[in-house]
Symmetry: D2
Subunit: 427 residues, 4 copies
Amino acid sequence: MDTAPPISDRLEDLETARDDGRQKIDWAFQHMPILQSLREDFEDEQPFAGVTIGMALHVEAKTAALVETLADGGAEVAITGCNPLSTHDDVSAALDANDAITSYAKHGAEDEDYYAAIEAVIDHEPAVTVDDGGDLVFRIHEEHPGLIDSIVGGTEETTTGVHRLRAMDEDGALEYPVIAVNDTPMKRLFDNVHGTGESSLASIAMTTNLAWAGKTVVVAGYGHCGRGVAKKAAGQNAHVVVTEVDSRRALEAHMEGYEVTTMAEAAEKGDVFVTTTGNRDVIAREHFEVMQDGAVLANAGHFDVEINLDELADLATAERDARDGVREYELEDGRRINVLAEGRLVNLAAPVSLGHPVEVMDQSFAVQAVSVRELLENGADYDAAVHEVPDDLDREVAEVKLAAEGVAFDTLSEEQEDYLQSWQHGT
Amino acid sequence: MDTAPPISDRLEDLETARDDGRQKIDWAFQHMPILQSLREDFEDEQPFAGVTIGMALHVEAKTAALVETLADGGAEVAITGCNPLSTHDDVSAALDANDAITSYAKHGAEDEDYYAAIEAVIDHEPAVTVDDGGDLVFRIHEEHPGLIDSIVGGTEETTTGVHRLRAMDEDGALEYPVIAVNDTPMKRLFDNVHGTGESSLASIAMTTNLAWAGKTVVVAGYGHCGRGVAKKAAGQNAHVVVTEVDSRRALEAHMEGYEVTTMAEAAEKGDVFVTTTGNRDVIAREHFEVMQDGAVLANAGHFDVEINLDELADLATAERDARDGVREYELEDGRRINVLAEGRLVNLAAPVSLGHPVEVMDQSFAVQAVSVRELLENGADYDAAVHEVPDDLDREVAEVKLAAEGVAFDTLSEEQEDYLQSWQHGT
Amino acid sequence: MDTAPPISDRLEDLETARDDGRQKIDWAFQHMPILQSLREDFEDEQPFAGVTIGMALHVEAKTAALVETLADGGAEVAITGCNPLSTHDDVSAALDANDAITSYAKHGAEDEDYYAAIEAVIDHEPAVTVDDGGDLVFRIHEEHPGLIDSIVGGTEETTTGVHRLRAMDEDGALEYPVIAVNDTPMKRLFDNVHGTGESSLASIAMTTNLAWAGKTVVVAGYGHCGRGVAKKAAGQNAHVVVTEVDSRRALEAHMEGYEVTTMAEAAEKGDVFVTTTGNRDVIAREHFEVMQDGAVLANAGHFDVEINLDELADLATAERDARDGVREYELEDGRRINVLAEGRLVNLAAPVSLGHPVEVMDQSFAVQAVSVRELLENGADYDAAVHEVPDDLDREVAEVKLAAEGVAFDTLSEEQEDYLQSWQHGT
Amino acid sequence: MDTAPPISDRLEDLETARDDGRQKIDWAFQHMPILQSLREDFEDEQPFAGVTIGMALHVEAKTAALVETLADGGAEVAITGCNPLSTHDDVSAALDANDAITSYAKHGAEDEDYYAAIEAVIDHEPAVTVDDGGDLVFRIHEEHPGLIDSIVGGTEETTTGVHRLRAMDEDGALEYPVIAVNDTPMKRLFDNVHGTGESSLASIAMTTNLAWAGKTVVVAGYGHCGRGVAKKAAGQNAHVVVTEVDSRRALEAHMEGYEVTTMAEAAEKGDVFVTTTGNRDVIAREHFEVMQDGAVLANAGHFDVEINLDELADLATAERDARDGVREYELEDGRRINVLAEGRLVNLAAPVSLGHPVEVMDQSFAVQAVSVRELLENGADYDAAVHEVPDDLDREVAEVKLAAEGVAFDTLSEEQEDYLQSWQHGT
C-alpha cells in the first residue's frame, strides 16, 4: 500500500498553519504541569535518544505537547491521526516543523488516505508504538509482521483499543508487549470520568445551544465515561436516565439516584442521548421509532457504531444539516431526530470540539510518557501481552500533579505503618 | 446624529447570510415551545396590528424567534443590537429579509456606528420599546423627548437595565412605563440561574479547553447569576469560592457549603474567576498583583466594567492573543493573566459563544411577548414608572411551558382551597 | 376554662429532670453564637425590664436558649408548648427553675390539658406574644379580647401560623401587630431549607433505619421546606419526585432536574413520602390505594392534616406499631403502609427527633429576640396587621452570624456605591 | 478460658426482650428483599442441613435476618457480638429463642466477658466461621488450632478484618480459606459508600442536634467509607475537607472538588471530624492543640484507635458528658473538644445509632449467605488463603436486588456479544 506524504507537503499556507498550531500548543503546554516537569527531566536525561516512536493519536494541541516531550527526550517521532475528523491540520503542521518529528495527520482524510498515513508511520520502523484505538498494532501484525522483532513494545490509550488488544491477546495473536495506559488509575479515574464527561457535554451544548436544566438525558452505559457524563449532566440539573447491560453497574446507577431502565423505555423519554458503551447498535431502529420530535443524539464512545445511522437513514424521509455539526433526520410522521458529529465521538468530532480538557490529557499523556520510558528501560521484562501500567509509575504521575497543584497530603508515621502491617491486636 | 443603514445594505454575500441566518433561526424556534404556542395565537389574533415596535437586543437566533413572533402578530419591527459583539450578521440579515422587520444590527460596530443604529430604530417612531440594557429608553429620553408622548410603554430584559431604570425612576426622570421583564419569576429563576450559569461555563470551557474538575473557581457576586455559575461549576466538580458585598447573600453562600471570603483573599486562590455583580472594578489592581500564573478571568455581568482592564494593561509588560478569545497579559514577574472576551459578557461575546440556551430564552422572550401584548391592551393602566410583570402573565408562561414539556401538576380541591383560606382551626 | 399548673408541680423526679434539661440547654447554647452575642448585649441593656412575654413554642433545648436570653434581658416569661408531642419535660422543668420563667409545657398533653396550659400563659397577661402556629394570638382574640389593648404586639415563627394570621388580617380580625418572623430571609432561607430538610430526613432515617440511596422519595410541595427536603434527599442519592399545585414552583422543580408529577402518579412510585405543603389531604384514600407495600409516610408540615389518617385507618384491616414511632396499616390485599409520628411533623414528633438543628434555630430565634426588642422599642409604629421583620434587623442577625463563623465579605467602595446609583453611562 | 452463658440466661425480663427483638427483626426483614428471596430458596433446598456455623457480628436486627436465613436453611448457629457496644440485647434474646440458634451476645460486655462469649461460640466447633473484624479466625488460630482441620472455611465482613487476614496470610499463618466479603463489589460499592456514609452522618446529627449546612467537615481517609461520608456531607451542604496518605486518592478527592490537605492544616478548620482510615492516631495531640472550641470528633472506622483519646485525656483539664453519647474534654485554654461514642464507630456505638441502613445490609448479608453456601458446596476448591467472592455469586445478588426493586436493564444481543469479542474491525 502507498504511504501518505507529510502534512507539510499538503497544506497551502504552511506558515500560517504552523503559527496557528504553535499558538495552540503553547496554550496547552502552559496548562500541563506534569508534562512540563517530565520534559525538564527528559531534556537532561535523553531517555529516548536514538529511538524511533510511531504514534497514531488524535493530533491536536495537547497530543502535540506529548509528542514534543518525547522528541525533546531524544526520540525521532512519526505520527498520524487515529480518527479522520479529530486532526487539527495546523497542529499537525507545527509538529512537522520540528526536525525530530514527521506528522502525516490530515483532517478529513478519506479511508485510503487515512491508512496510507498509518503506513507512512510504520514505514519509519518504530521501536515503540503509541496507539489510540490500536490501529498501529493491528496493521503491523497484519501487514508488517516482519517488523515485530525490532519493536520493544507499545502503549494504548483507550478502552476500546485495550478491549481489542485483550481479545487479540486471548487469541494468542499479540506478538509484542503493550502497556494499557487506558486501564491505569491515573487515566481511568480522571480522563474518562472528568475529561469525557465535561468535554462531551460542553461540545453538545455549544453545538446545539440547548440547556441541560430540565432536560431528560439518557446515558447509555455506566462505565467510567458514562458515569462522568451522568454526574456532570445531573450537576447541571438534567434529569438523568441510565441504561446498562451489566447488572452491578445498573445497580450502582440506581443506588446513585439515577433512573435506570432499558433503552426501549428510555428512548421514549429522552431529550438528549449520549452513548458511552463501546458497543454497536446501542440506539437503533426500534428506538428511533419511539423517540420524541427534536431528540438529540450524540456518541461519546470511540467508534461511530453506537448509533445505527444506517437504520436511521433508512427510516428517514428527508435529511438536512440543521446546524453546523447537526444532521437532522425527518421521519415519516414528521418527527425530527438530530445526530451530532455523524455519530463520531462528539467531544472530538463536533465542529466546535476541542477534545478532552488540557489538564486531563496532561495526566493521561504523562502516563504515556513514563510508560514509553519504562518500555525502553525495562522492555525485556515484559512478555508479548497486554500489561498494566506499573503502579509506581502511576503514582509518580499523581505525586507530580499534586505538587504542581500545591495540594498537600499526609504521610504515614512509622507507628501507623507498623499498625497497618500488624494483625495481632484484638478489638 | 446620523442613522445607520439596514444590515442588508451592508453585507457582501447577502443571500448566503440570509440562508445561514434562517437555518439558525429555524433550529432555535424548533426548541422554543412557548413562543411556538404564542405565535399560533398571535397569528390568529393579530394583537400588534399596525403597531411599530423598536428593539435593542442581542441579535441572534433566539431573539429572532421573538422578533418574528411579534411580526407575525401584526407588528412592524425595527431592531438593532444592544452589544457590539453579540450580533450575528446572518441572523440580522435573515430578519431584515422580512417585510415587516428592519434590522440595523451589525457585528463589531464601533461606538458611533452602534449609536447610529440605535438612532435608526428610534427613527421608526416606535410605540413600544424592547430593551436589553436600556439604551433605547435612555436615548429617547435624552435625545428625542418629543417622541415620548406617542410611546405606550417599554420592556427591559436585564438586571443592569432595570437597575438603571429604577435609578432614573427614583430621580423622577422616567416618562413612560417600563415593564421589568428581568425581575419576573419566569425570567429571574431560569434565565439568570440556568441560562447564565450553563452558557457562561460552557463558553469558558470551549474558549480555553480547560476542565472544571479540581479547579478553584471564584464567583464574584451571589445573586441569581452568581448562584447559577456557582452551582453549575460545583456540579462539574470545581471547588467554588464566593465573594459578596451583601451579608445575607454571603451567609446564604456559606450555608450552601461554598467557601466565602473577600476578593482580596480569593484572588490568591483562584484558577478561574467569573464576575456576576453588575458593579465595576470587582477585580482590580490589588487582585491582579496576587493572582496565580495562568489565572483565567471572565465576566458574566452585563457591562464590561467588572474587571478593570485599564489597571491590568497598566501592570502588564506584554500582551498577546493566547487563543481566539483569550487576551494574555504578562506581568513583570512573568505571571500571566488571561482575560476572556475582552471582559465583555463571556456567554455572548466569546468567539465560540452562542448566548443563553434556547429553551431558557424561550421563557424569557415569551414573557417579553405577553408583556408587549399587555402594554398594547392595557397600557393606559400603567403610569410612567418601572412595573413588575403582572403575575397572571408570568403564570400564563409557566403553564404553557409545563404543558409543552408534558409535566403534570396538581390542582387544589375545593376543600384544600377552603383550608388555605380558613384560620379558625386549632392544633 | 381552667389553667394548667407549672411543670414543676407535675413531675416526680424534678431535680433529675432539671439537671437533664440544664445539660441539654447548655449544649444548645454553646452552639448558638448569635444568641450568645445578643444575650451579652441584653444583659447590659435590659431591654425587656418589667415586661411580661407569653410564649407558645416547641419547648426543647434550643427554644430554652431564646427564653433565657429574653429573661436575662429583664423579661418575665410564661411559656407553654405549641404541639403536645414536641415538649421535652426536662427542658421545661429546667426553664421553670428560673425565677423569671414559668413553664407550663408538658409532653403528651391531651387536648384539654394543652389548652389549659395556653390559658395559663395568657393568665400572665403578656405584653408580647411569641407564637409558633398562632395559638396564643387566636385564643386571645377569641377568648380574651379584653387583653388586647395591653398587648404591644406578637411574633410568629412558622409558615402555617403566618398563613392563618394573614387570613385573619384580611378578614379585619387581627387586632394587634404581629411580626412574621417566618417570612424574613434569615428565617426562611435557612430554617426551612436547611433546618427542616436535614432534620426531617435524619429523623426518618433514624426512626426507620432505612437508607436514602436508591430510594424514590416523593416530596409534596416545593416551597422552602419542600426544596430543602428534596435537595438533601437527592444529596444522599435518593431519586426525588416532586408534586406541586403551583405552576411556577412545579416548573422550578422540573428545571432543577427533579421528576415532577401529580400525587396520583407519584403514589405508585414512592418508597418514602414527605409532605411539606401546609395543606390538608395531600395524601389520601386514592393514593393509599395504589401505594407499594412497605411505603413510608412522614409529614414535615406544621399540622397533622397533610396525610389523611382517617381514610387510611378506614382502608386498613389491621394496625400495629411496627417500630417505635412507626404505625403500620395493613390493607386488605396485604400491602403495608407505614406512617411516622402519627402524621405529626416528623422532625419534632418522632421518638428520636431533636427538632431543627441548633445553629439553624440560633438564626431563627435571634430574629425572634430582636423582633421582640423592636416591638418594645417601636411598637407604636406598627398597626394591627401582619408585618415583615424590618430589613435592618434581619441584616443585623446575618452580620452577627458571619462574624461568629469567621466568614469575611467585601464592602462596596465609594466608587462602586456611586456606580450602582448612577444610570447615565452607556454600553 | 471460661465460656459465657447464652443471653437467655442473663436477662431479667426475657419475654419482653424477645418480643422487642422480634418486632425489630420483623421490620428489618420486611425491607430486605434479597434475603427474603434467598430464604425462600434455602427453606426448600436446606443447603446448611447439619452444619454448625459460628458467627461474631454486630448483633442487631439486620444481622438477625441473616442468622435466621441460615438457620432456616438447616444450620445450627452460634453467635456473639464483634463489638461490646453494638449488641442489642433484645435482638440477641429473640435469636436465642430459636432452637437452631444460640446467642451469647451481650451489650456492654467487659473484655473478659466479651472473649468468654467468643470462646462459647468456638465451643460449638463450627464448620464455618462468619466474622466482622476477624476475632473468631484469630482466636481459633491462636487458642484452638486443633479445630482447624474440621473447618471448611470462613467469611469476613469488614475492611479491617480483611486487612488483618491478608497480613496473616502473607505471614503464612492462615490455615483455612476465608472469603473476603468486604472486598466484593456488592459489598464495597454500597455498604461502605452508602451505608457508612448515611448512617454515620445521621448518627452524628441525631447525637449532637447540629446541622451540616455551612459546617466544615473534615473526612480523614478517602477510601470507600470516606468518599461516602464526604459525598453525603457535601450533599447536605457541608464544606468538606479531605485528608489522605495515598497520593492517588488525594488527587481523586481534589478532582472531585473537595479541599484536600494534611490533618495538621485541617485540624484548625474543622467543625466536625470523621475518621475512616482503618489506622491509628489519625487525630492526635498535635491536632487537638489547634482545634476550634466546640469541635466534634467521630470515628467511622472499625477500631477505636483512630482518635487518640489517651492524648486527649492527657491534655484535658476537665471531662464531662455534654450529652448522651458526647464526651466533652475541656482544655487548659477553655476550648472544648467533643468526642462521640468514645471514639468507637459512631454509626453503631452512639446511643441513638441503628447501624447500617437495612437495605444496605441486605446486600452485604446476601453475599454472606451465598458465600457460606459456596464454602459448603465447593469448599474443597479453596486453599487456605484469603479469597475473593466469586464473581458469579456477586452478580447473583445484584440480579436478585434489581428484580426486587423493579429495575430493568438491557441484555446484549448476539451481534453485540460478537462485536465485543471481535477485534478485526478498523476505525
